[in-house]
Amino acid sequence: MSKTYERREFLADLVKFPCATLLLGVSGPIKALASAGNEYQASEHNYAMGVQIEKCIGCGKCVEACKIENDVPMEPYYFRTWVERYIIYTDGEVSVDSPNGGINGFPPVESDKDILRTFFVPKLCNHCENPPCVQVCPVGATFKSQDGVVLVDDDYCIGCRYCIQACPYGARFLDPRTHTAGKCTFCYHRITEGLLPACVEICPTQARIFGELDKLSTPLNRMMRQSNIQVLKAHMNTEPKVFYSDLDGEVR
């Protein structure tokens, strides 16, 4: 005997189905929202930094903040970020200086020659897409994390210095206390908490912009769309993720 579909049942189902589908549809975003609040999902991020050369005033506050935040030795040989001053004279000579990484600012220019162009260039680890330092590490102590940040495992690093040799940007150093490689982490402990890296937080002119590379509506992507963007040593095919706007051709 076949069951007949009563009109009453049909009407009840007519109400039930849309409600159920609606609930299913809504539950997804609700779960995503709830998890976004509590737990950091590394695979959902891809971080990068933008540096606006025309805004940097060479105050060195970023260098100081970085050293304080990340407990970098204060001696003038160890930097996770530093500021360089480029002076291009009319006769074509290029002078680059970075006294103590620029942590105390810069002295006045002493040369009597005519200056054609001069500007400051903040530098740091470029968190390359193809990091040479990761390739050469013999023990797997330096690695690119899921969110695109190149990190060093201090407990696993054997201090062989291969990565320091391999980095084309000179962004690494050997920490004299632990004898392990030190480098910029984009302040990994801050960004996973939703804060900005210390250098970005402290920059008085907002010359540094930190953010997501894969999301369109971020300050970083806005800056990259509207500026003339260069990276350092593009020919090395490291695919750096520190993007400079209006970088002079003389900058290496």
Binding site: Y40, A42, E54, K55, C56, I57, G58, C59, G60, K61, A65, I68, E69, N70, D71, R85, Y86, I87, G105, F106, P108, V109, I115, T118, F119, F120, G140, A141, T142, F143, K144, S145, Q146, L151, V152, D153, D154, D155, Y156, T185, Y188, H189, R190, T192, E193, L195, L196, A198, E201, I202, C203, P204, T205, Q206
Partner: protein
């Protein structure tokens, strides 16, 4: 030799292989960390260790919770791009309430000059000063509010423009006298200086108000009590002939008698 029995030499080699194989597995297990290879060719636990580093800079949003007025003022001023901790230093400990001391209140000129000292490499248009010429004896915050550093439309004092004169006068016998004691300055001078030039004294009698023999040092000369000072007196009828006072004496740094 019966067929089917494994020869002794094969067994011995097999035993050696087994020994080497198991010891390799054991050594590997011992030396390779547990989480190695979970996410890639690295120790996945290291990410958590790096992320657990202590935070030093709290961020300006944390300051906002208690110091709303100052942060709001700053965010509407030329210093809107600064973070509180750019000047006040790392304050995560202060923000969490664990610090014993408050963050430093920078008062010297050095901090402001870190950014505002003239350097040729700084971007065009960024406000910079030459520290020797711009009110060298004053602290920045006496004229500029650090939370709202908009330069005032009129100079706060004469020395803002006439720094060279102010420096000389500051160490002279005339140091206690304000500029307005001798110069009549119209308020418009501060807005349009060249079309409203202040008046200068033009006759010997003006200096004689204080310095003429037989005249008492005034207790209220344009609002200043001068009786506390030892004012040198000269007989204006005989001293200097027909010369005006400022043809021999520089009024901003008059010579000792």
């Amino acid at each position: 030799m019966k067929s089917g029995k494994i020869p002794n030499q094969v067994l011995q080699v097999g035993f050696v292989f087994l020994l080497v194989g198991t010891s390799m597995i054991l050594v590997r297990q011992h030396f390779i960390p547990e989480s190695f290879g979970e996410l890639g060719h690295y120790r996945a636990d290291a990410v958590g260790v790096i992320a657990s580093h202590e935070i030093q800079f709290a961020g300006w949003q944390a300051c906002m919770e208690c110091h709303e007025d100052q942060v709001a003022a700053k965010n509407n001023s030329f210093h809107r791009t600064l973070s509180c901790e750019t000047c006040h230093g790392a304050a995560a400990e202060h923000a969490s309430g664990e610090a014993e001391e408050d963050p430093p209140l920078p008062t010297g000129r050095a901090l402001c000059l870190t950014c505002h000292r003239y350097l040729v490499s700084r971007p065009t248009g960024f406000p910079q000063i030459i520290e020797e010429l711009h009110e060298p004896a004053k602290l920045c915050h006496t004229c500029h509010d650090p939370h709202d550093p908009t330069p005032s439309e009129r100079p706060e004092s004469c020395s803002g423009c006439h720094a060279a004169i102010a420096r000389v006068k500051a160490v002279s016998h005339h140091a206690p006298l304000d500029c307005e004691v001798c110069h009549e300055v119209a308020p418009e001078h501060f807005l349009r200086p060249r079309s409203n030039i202040p008046r200068k004294p033009f006759e010997r009698a003006f200096c004689g108000n204080c310095h003429a023999a037989g005249v008492d040092t005034p207790a209220n000369f344009r609002g200043v009590d001068l009786t506390a000072f030892e004012v040198p007196k000269v007989d204006q009828d005989t001293h200097g002939g027909t010369l005006l006072c400022w043809q021999c004496h520089y009024q901003h740094s008059p010579e000792a008698r």
